[in-house]
């Protein structure tokens, strides 16, 4: 069945292998640095490619894509927050921290989608690569604003003593913006993109064997490790509870559909490009956002957002989400 032919993509299979290894309680373990090394590699490679596309892009079109990326990054956390508060199962600061993850993106999911389109022979626009870089930070900012607002309401309501101004974790908007944009992964991705855009093109070509040829293999190793990590977190599912777990499946569907609409109607992308925008909307960050949340919303429980993002939404997107979004993009293209 074509919809699940993504299960024949090596990257997805390696993810499944990692997940399965945890399931059977294998002692397979990655050295802790390997995941960090692979994610540095992936961010640099994506950044360079995004930058090279940017250098050749139609600037007007690129600008429109960037604006819609910002809209998605700012809008989705608000939707997520509202949904979470509506469940009445989660403290407001937890909701803010979780929501931020869904407005940002997962490079791993995005790359798996590209591998999926590749094996299906589907062409796609390059702008989503730029959107990926743009969407890393805004959701962090929204998350922190939601958290500030929550804290202020709690102080007003008397359930919290006023925060000591100027102390860490209570920074003003300037501090919030600074932290969101100096986030390690953001600097790496945006910096590499800039380098890809301005460096000497011949010299960049010499990087191709590193950033392009071995890329798929590195992605497979990364997804293997993420599978292990997701498997480890999946066990915490019961901790998170059914309703919150449900959010980890519903929210990507909502983000995916919004992404589909943006990709198709607002950006006029082909089926491939629309699928990728849907994936940007659907995916939740597990690299850039969690450290930012730990630092800036210490009151939120990290095992909640890591379990949801890495243990629920990531596997869902990789196995079911991507073919679903692609299928919907095909329908949408046929329908209009």
């Amino acid at each position: 069945m074509s919809a699940f032919s993504n299960l024949l993509i090596p990257a997805v299979l390696f993810f499944a292998l990692g997940f399965f290894a945890r399931l059977i309680k294998s002692d397979l373990r990655f050295p802790p640095d390997l995941a960090k090394i692979l994610s540095i590699y992936l961010l640099v490679s994506i950044g360079l490619h995004g930058g090279m596309e940017l250098a050749n892009a139609n600037l007007g079109e690129a600008l429109v894509a960037v604006i819609w990326a910002l809209v998605l990054g700012l809008l989705l956390p608000v939707i997520g927050y509202a949904l979470l508060i509506a469940t009445r199962r989660v403290a407001p600061l937890d909701a803010a921290a979780i929501a931020a993850h869904y407005g940002s993106v997962s490079a791993g999911t995005f790359l798996t989608a590209i591998a999926f389109l590749g094996t299906q022979g589907v062409e796609y626009e390059r702008y989503p690569l730029i959107m990926l870089a743009v969407m890393e930070s805004p959701a962090i900012v929204v998350g922190l604003l939601l958290a500030s607002w929550t804290r202020r309401r709690a102080v007003a309501g008397g359930s919290l003593r006023p925060a000591d101004e100027g102390e860490p974790g209570n920074g003003g908007l300037g501090e919030i913006l600074r932290e969101a944009f100096t986030n390690g992964s953001v600097v790496l991705l945006v910096g590499s993109m800039l380098i890809g855009a301005i460096a000497n093109p011949n010299a960049l070509e010499a990087l191709d064997p590193f950033t392009a040829d071995i890329f798929m293999g590195m992605l497979c190793l990364f997804l293997l490790e993420m599978g292990l990590e997701a498997g480890r977190r999946f066990g915490d599912f019961r901790r998170v509870g059914l309703i919150l777990g449900g959010f980890g499946v519903v929210m990507p569907l909502i983000g995916g559909v919004i992404g589909l609409l943006v990709g198709h109607f607002m950006l006029g992308f082909s089926v491939g490009g629309t699928t990728l925008v849907a994936v940007l909307g659907a995916s939740a960050s597990y690299i850039a956002v969690p450290p930012a949340m730990r630092l800036a919303i210490p009151e939120a429980n990290p095992s909640l957002y890591l379990t949801l993002s890495l243990g629920v939404t990531f596997p869902f997107n990789v196995v079911f989400g991507i073919p679903i979004y692609h299928h919907l993009a095909v329908l949408l293209a046929g329908w209009t």
Partner: protein, 107 residues
């Protein structure tokens, strides 16, 4: 012969996103230096598997003259009250060359 002098060893276990903040605190309190070790673990903040940037712990080891411990603990309690998860314990140790631990770092 060598002479051993009693000092306090303060150990702090926390998420490594707090590294810069903890080091700033340590400097402010006039420590002569500090030592960091990478750690993993679990606690009320869940599993810290050490594989992701957000779930690695660090272990900070700090030798301090007894009279400076209290001030440092005040700072750490402020972090605790803000919601950060810190595991803090103090041990009695005898140090060699105690004068070095009384000079604040100059970096």
């Amino acid at each position: 012969m060598h002479q051993l002098v009693p000092q306090k060893l303060v150990t702090v276990i926390a998420s490594d996103v707090l590294e810069d903040r903890l080091i700033a605190t340590v400097r402010n309190r006039g420590a002569s230096g500090y030592t960091l070790v990478r750690a993993r673990g679990a606690g009320s903040d869940g599993l810290q598997s050490g594989n992701l940037d957000a779930d690695t712990n660090l272990m900070l080891k700090l030798i301090l003259p007894p009279e400076r411990v209290s001030g440092l603990l005040d700072d750490l309690e402020i972090l605790n009250r803000k919601g950060y998860h810190l595991t803090v314990y103090v041990t009695d140790v005898l140090v060699m060359g105690h004068e070095k631990f009384e000079r604040p770092m100059d970096i």
